[in-house]
């Protein structure tokens, strides 16, 4: 479970995030929806303990991310905004490196990679160096790398960015299977259809703050709009989408 309570981040004069509060439950998919610059990435970075909040706190399974960053990261799998791979290492070596960093034993890593190769359809590219991979192949390896330790909580920052339709569909299936395994999945997107197709709970962010949250039915009811797109535009203040 991931909780944000009055989370805030100020970069000098700029208030990137101000007072963001929400709860992402286990066995559910929670979507952070908002236009570019709404503060989604910064919020996810604070949960991953990569950025220190200037106000409020974030908790992963009750662990304060700022106070105990290592313990919080133990319980997280993160597909961050940057998702570079090591070009001279094979896909398997890239994934195994993260398993080793988390102290996993070699047999456990091999088993995890076998499981992820099946889930993400990595078989054909596993032993190839990642140099020259397509964007979709890179994304799959980056996701496998984030999930190698079978984390109970998963953060995905704009996971479908730059992917073609087929890969996007596969990725949605993967995310649903993570929910089926009882994981807490929190992902961000600026694409409304993406979020509505997948999420149990939608958190709409604009200009660094949460403007509305709830299931898609609840959002429709709150906004009084007929479609989710209209609701988003209205709630997000007529920007982006």
């Amino acid at each position: 479970m991931i909780e944000a309570r009055s989370l805030a981040k100020r970069f000098g004069e700029v208030e990137a995030v101000r007072s963001v509060s929400f709860t992402a439950c286990d066995g559910a998919i929670t979507g952070l929806l908002g236009p570019n610059g709404a503060g989604k990435t910064t919020t996810l970075r604070m949960i991953a303990a990569l950025v220190a909040p200037t106000g409020g706190d974030a908790r992963v399974d009750g662990v304060d991310c700022a106070a105990a960053p290592l313990a919080a990261r133990e319980r997280l799998g993160v597909l961050s905004d940057a998702r570079g791979l090591y070009a001279r290492l094979t896909a398997r070596e890239n994934i195994a490196y993260y398993g080793e960093l988390r102290g996993m034993a070699r047999p456990a890593i091999a088993a995890a990679i076998a499981r992820l190769a099946d889930l993400l359809d990595l078989g054909a590219i596993l032993e190839r160096r990642t140099d020259g991979f397509s964007q979709g192949e890179r994304m799959k390896v980056a996701i496998a790398r984030a999930l190698v330790h079978d984390p109970p909580n998963v953060l995905l920052d704009e996971p479908t960015n730059g992917l073609d339709v087929m890969t996007t569909r596969n990725l949605r299936d993967v995310i649903r299977r993570l929910r089926g395994d009882g994981k807490c999945v929190l992902f961000s997107s600026h694409v409304m259809q993406e979020v509505s197709a997948l999420c149990d709970t939608i958190v709409i962010m604009a200009r660094g703050a949460v403007v509305a949250q709830g299931s898609s039915q609840e959002l429709l009811a709150t906004s009084g709009c007929a479609t989710l797109e209209d609701a988003f535009v209205k709630l997000a203040g007529g920007e982006g989408a």
Binding site: L76, A82, L85, Y97, L101, R145, A146
Partner: protein, 390 residues
């Protein structure tokens, strides 16, 4: 379970060894450049010695100076008649020096007067130096002999004309004679770890930032200091390996050339190699940490490369300063990075006594600097402007 530092070290080494830039650098910088330079220099120096060693002078108009010719023959000097176009040849650099005898030489000598002799040379060509000096030396010796004979003929003691007798006693050992050439080995020894550690230092810091792998890496539950340590150990390892290869190359070159050309090179053998390692391995710990630190500031590979080249330039200036300023060995120099290493290595090369403090003081200073750099790198890896800065 392996330690996290070991995991990072193993990954960085594997990554670096697959990097063609690393392979090329190891080949070019360490195996080829050093020994090749030495071999060329050995050829050059040996060439100088050979030119002077052949006791031969070129003369124009030798028929006008029978006494001089007689003197030279008595001293086992071979005389070669200069060709007609000797002036042009000297100007073109095809001939080093020619002794020119004027027509009236013999007449004036017989009359007991002083006669003029010209040495024709082009002193802008340094390699002509030994031939010029040899011609001068021979003519001075002839002068002294003739003068002495004339004084004796007049019943005057020759000592009157030579109140001070100069005798040369050369105390330089074979090692010291090769000092300039051997100055190069310490310089390569100091620069090689910089070359060796550079690609890893750049790739594991600025490279991670550029390809966007730093943010996900730091999202792992691992302390930043563990990453800094692992990356530094990888850079240190490669720096030491390249230094070892470079120096071993010198030993091989020295073996091949010792007997024939440069006696001084024979002094760089297995013992000196070990002494060099004792100096260079701790030094490499410092340079690798320093490179890691400055490269962490680089946003791209290229930017970090520029920063590294500044360090390289600064370090390579130090041996030059020592060479041209004629700095004398002093204890305080041990405390100055690079200067201390340079001094100790030069002592090893000269075969001077090297005491434990000569190794320990520079090593301790290097360790302290490396530690400070690593603490700073660990700190930087927690800074948002470094992790996310574009």
């Amino acid at each position: 379970m392996r330690s996290v530092v070991g995991v990072v070290l193993a990954k960085e080494l594997r990554d670096a060894l697959r990097d063609r830039r690393t392979a090329l650098m190891i080949l070019v910088a360490s195996i080829v450049t050093g020994p090749l330079t030495l071999v060329l220099l050995a050829q050059f120096v040996a060439g100088l010695e050979e030119k002077a060693a052949v006791l031969k002078v070129r003369m124009a108009g030798e028929e006008h100076a029978p006494q001089l010719v007689n003197f030279l023959h008595r001293n086992d000097i071979e005389i070669e008649a200069a060709p007609a176009d000797y002036e042009a040849r000297v100007r073109d650099g095809r001939m080093d020096a020619v002794i020119v005898i004027p027509d009236d030489f013999d007449d004036r000598m017989l009359a007991g007067d002083s006669a003029t002799v010209e040495i024709l040379y082009d002193d802008s060509r340094t390699e002509a130096g030994p031939a010029i000096r040899q011609a001068e030396r021979l003519l001075r010796a002839f002068n002294r002999e003739t003068g002495t004979l004339r004084l004796v003929a007049r019943g005057v003691s020759p000592d009157l004309a030579e109140p001070v007798k100069v005798e040369r006693v050369n105390t330089a050992t074979p090692r010291q004679k090769g000092a300039l050439v051997l100055f190069l080995i310490p310089m390569f020894a100091i620069l090689s770890p910089l070359l060796g550690g550079m690609t890893v230092a750049i790739d594991s810091t600025a490279g991670e930032r550029e390809r966007g792998s730093l943010e996900p890496l730091l999202a792992n539950p691992v302390r930043a200091s563990r990453f800094a340590l692992g990356k530094w150990l990888a850079a240190w390892t490669l720096a030491s390996v390249v230094a070892a290869l470079t120096l071993s190359g010198f030993v091989l070159a020295a073996l091949a050339y010792a007997q024939r050309k440069l006696e001084a090179l024979a002094a760089f053998g297995a013992l000196e190699l070990l002494q060099f390692f004792a100096v260079i391995v701790p030094f490499a710990a410092m340079t690798s940490a320093l490179q890691l630190l400055i490269c962490t500031y680089g946003r791209t590979y290229r930017e970090a490369q520029t920063y590294s080249s500044y360090v390289f330039t600064v370090v390579s200036f130090v041996p030059m300063i020592v060479l041209f300023s004629g700095l004398k060995d002093a204890f305080w120099q041990l405390a100055v990075p690079v200067l201390g290493q340079q001094m100790v290595l030069a002592r090893v090369m000269r075969g001077d006594a090297v005491v434990p403090a000569d190794y320990l003081v520079p090593a301790a200073i290097a360790a302290a600097i490396a530690a400070a750099c690593l603490v700073t790198v660990s700190h930087l890896l927690r800074q948002e402007r470094i992790v996310f800065g574009r």
